[in-house]
Symmetry: C2
Subunit: 241 residues, 2 copies
């Protein structure tokens, strides 16, 4: 079994604006007979899942996602050697023309897990709306990435994110037409996947250990009514089956 | 796949003295474009795993437990109709004479998951040291229960726990000889399992859906250097294989 989750540590990288991560000692063996830690973190800390309610009011919450949907055969699209900082990943880069159908779980390996915690973390490559829509049409229901987000992450606040998306629309292809001005969706890939009732997994690591096909398992904490949750994500090798 | 984990909610039952659980809104779709929750909880909240370092100074931490050890064939010992509040579960109650070997994962169904959150939660039945030692000798390395602890939980503080353990020793069998006076170990089953380098899973739910054999998967959050972690725990049915 291969662990695809980042360790959770105090001060670890989080998405801009999210709660900080703190892990501290609450009880100790010496003083209390048992060691217990106290955790403070956001629902989207570290390797985690976005439920539809993360961006879609009234969407399913993380405890409503059936576990059976979160485990199974997956397609791993390795594009790490074809993308650089802030570059778009389109259907051509992904080679989607090869597929008539894809498994419900699709993971994109950008290689950006090596930048988790460094100054390039926010400069990750990101999917085009067209690529997300094509994957959805091919049968994907869970989109996983080894970066902070499948959408572009703006270094600043929400306003900056919207502006970045406008730039994107101006230079983009047909799929971006209609996204314009102050109404631009700063998270268009999220809208495609979560809006369709699917789920997104962010901050995977170690996808380089896998081939193009693998069996993945995503095990989020069952946070009642929440928009997402930190998750342990694993891949099973053939010997595990 | 069957979910064996309690949902995580604000104010949920915790082990006496552990940090309280709080889940609150940090960001909302209306105000921020995305919904994000802020979590505060202990490493032993809800369904969780105890790593050796929970009670053994220098013992392995939760991120050092190999995932392969935490998934696999399990023996489920159903004693829910044979035990009542604060009763001891010994080797006879468990029917251990039937076994020459047991799987590495053994789960005890006391039925106490139905009391999670009610006034009987702390009054759960508990294993004898002898039963824990016999299971260890038979090959168990991960002990799972559907109650707050495999050891007796005292309603009060550590001193009360030590007193309870003395009562236990006075009325107990051969295995309890040697546990006496103020030096009594309040968590003797923990000492057997964690002291041997094994792990304990507490607060499972829903074991009544399983037979005597099942395949279990325990997926804790990868809390770096921590004494334990909340976990998603699942059982696979034959169709999942």
């Amino acid at each position: 079994m291969i662990d695809l989750s980042h360790p959770i540590t105090t001060g670890m990288t989080v998405y801009p604006g999210d709660p900080e991560v703190r892990v501290r000692e609450a009880l100790s063996v010496a003083a209390d007979g048992v060691a217990v830690s106290e955790l403070h973190l956001g629902s989207h800390a570290g390797t985690h899942i976005d439920a539809p309610s993360h961006t879609i009011p009234g969407g399913r919450t993380v405890d409503q996602l059936p576990l059976d949907v979160l485990s199974g055969d997956a397609l791993i699209l390795h594009v790490a050697d074809r993308v650089a900082a802030r570059e778009r990943i389109d259907a051509d880069v992904l080679g989607l023309d090869r597929f008539e159908i894809v498994p419900a779980i699709v993971a994109i390996r950008t290689g950006w897990d090596r930048h988790f915690g460094d100054e390039l973390a926010l400069q990750h490559p990101f999917l085009t709306v067209d690529a997300a829509e094509r994957l959805w049409q091919l049968g994907m229901r869970v989109l996983a990435v080894d970066a902070l987000s499948p959408d572009r992450t703006a270094p600043g606040d929400g306003a900056a994110a919207a502006e970045a998306s406008c730039d994107d629309a101006a230079g983009g292809g047909a799929a971006d037409v209609g996204v314009a001005g102050g109404d631009a969706d700063p998270l268009p890939v999220h809208t495609v996947v979560l809006g369709g009732g699917g789920a997104i997994v962010e901050n995977l690591r170690g996808l380089d250990a896998l081939g193009e096909r693998a069996r993945l398992g995503i095990f989020p904490l069952p946070l009642a009514g929440a928009d997402g949750a930190p998750a342990r994500v694993v891949a099973w090798t053939d010997e595990d089956r």
